[in-house]
């Protein structure tokens, strides 16, 4: 019960910070608010008994923050406020309509889910209870990641390296001056 209350408090803070990030006057404070949301997610992971995820999220969030601040340092963190045009009104209407449609499907989907904290293991029973016997892994998340689904992890690593190559290629490119 305590976990739920703590999670609800952190989530409310995350929602407020998200609104701050979207409506911030300058980009640097928006980036900092986004970092705070990421570290709030770390706290949620710790409360939800996912220590591996907390470690990975701390690393990923820090790298994202460093890249974002580096980008802003290299350009500008002043956001120019231009008057609203007709395209903005279309975007607001789209946001509202998409919100309503997604709300309908969310209510549809949430009725199938079990209430918070009453999950039953179905497919992952083998992953949880046979991991020590089959793989010798004491950390089941790593057991799934490196043994039961090692091919998926290889695909993930391939995506990561492809992105690194892409980032290098884009950054090395000399822009055409015209």
């Amino acid at each position: 019960m305590n976990t739920e209350i703590y999670l609800a408090i952190i989530l409310v803070f995350m929602i407020i910070l998200a609104l701050v990030a979207i409506h911030a006057k300058d980009l640097l404070s928006a980036v900092i608010a986004q970092g705070a949301i990421g570290y709030g997610l770390v706290l949620c992971f710790l409360l939800l008994k996912a220590p591996d995820l907390a470690i990975v999220q701390i690393v990923a969030e820090t790298i994202t923050l460093i890249i974002m601040v580096a980008v802003l340092h290299d350009s500008t963190w002043v956001e120019r406020r231009l008057p609203m045009c007709r395209r903005d009104m279309v975007n607001y209407t789209m946001a509202l309509l998409l919100g309503v449609v997604l709300l309908y499907y969310f209510i549809d989907a949430i009725s199938v889910l079990q209430p918070f904290g009453e999950h039953t293991l179905r497919m992952s029973e083998v992953y949880a209870y046979k991991a020590i016997e089959l793989t010798g892994a004491t950390n089941f998340v790593k057991g799934v990641l490196w043994d039961f689904r090692a091919l998926d992890t290889m695909g993930e690593a391939a995506v990561l390296f492809t992105t690194a190559i892409g980032v290098l290629a884009i950054l090395r490119l000399k822009g055409k001056k015209n």
């Binding site: 976990t3 929602i15 998200a18 996912a50 607001y92 949880a128 992890t153 980032v167």
Partner: protein, 114 residues
């Protein structure tokens, strides 16, 4: 149930930012918020109230102790890394666009493309 609804509100806030922002950096931030809300929802679905973290050193413990579902945690671990990769890719493109056009505003960039 309240927690799922709060997660959905976070998702909607991110979607709203994604649609109304004109600045590329703000669009990336909104995308990150959407990603974060989905990660949190997936982990919440796999949570068991009296379960322990899926790190157990002795198989005997599992006989009378529930354990939190490790499968959503694994998938979200993969998704976090992929999200980091996509974010750094978008930011790299944003800095190239800024170097070429001198602005982060998507409307101005589409006007200037000429």
């Amino acid at each position: 149930m309240t927690l799922y609804i709060l997660c959905f509100i976070l998702f909607l806030v991110g979607l709203y930012g994604l649609l109304i922002s004109r600045n590329i950096i703000k669009i990336v931030i909104s995308l990150t918020i959407v990603e974060i809300s989905i990660f949190l929802l997936l982990i919440m679905v796999g949570y068991i109230s009296d379960g322990i973290a899926p790190v157990v050193f002795d198989a005997q413990i599992l006989e009378n102790q529930a354990v939190v579902d490790p499968l959503p945690q694994t998938m979200v671990l993969t998704a976090i890394v992929i999200a980091l990769a996509t974010n750094s890719m978008i930011l790299t493109m944003a800095i190239r666009l800024y170097k070429k056009y001198g602005t982060f505003d998507v409307h101005e960039i589409s006007k200037l493309k000429g």
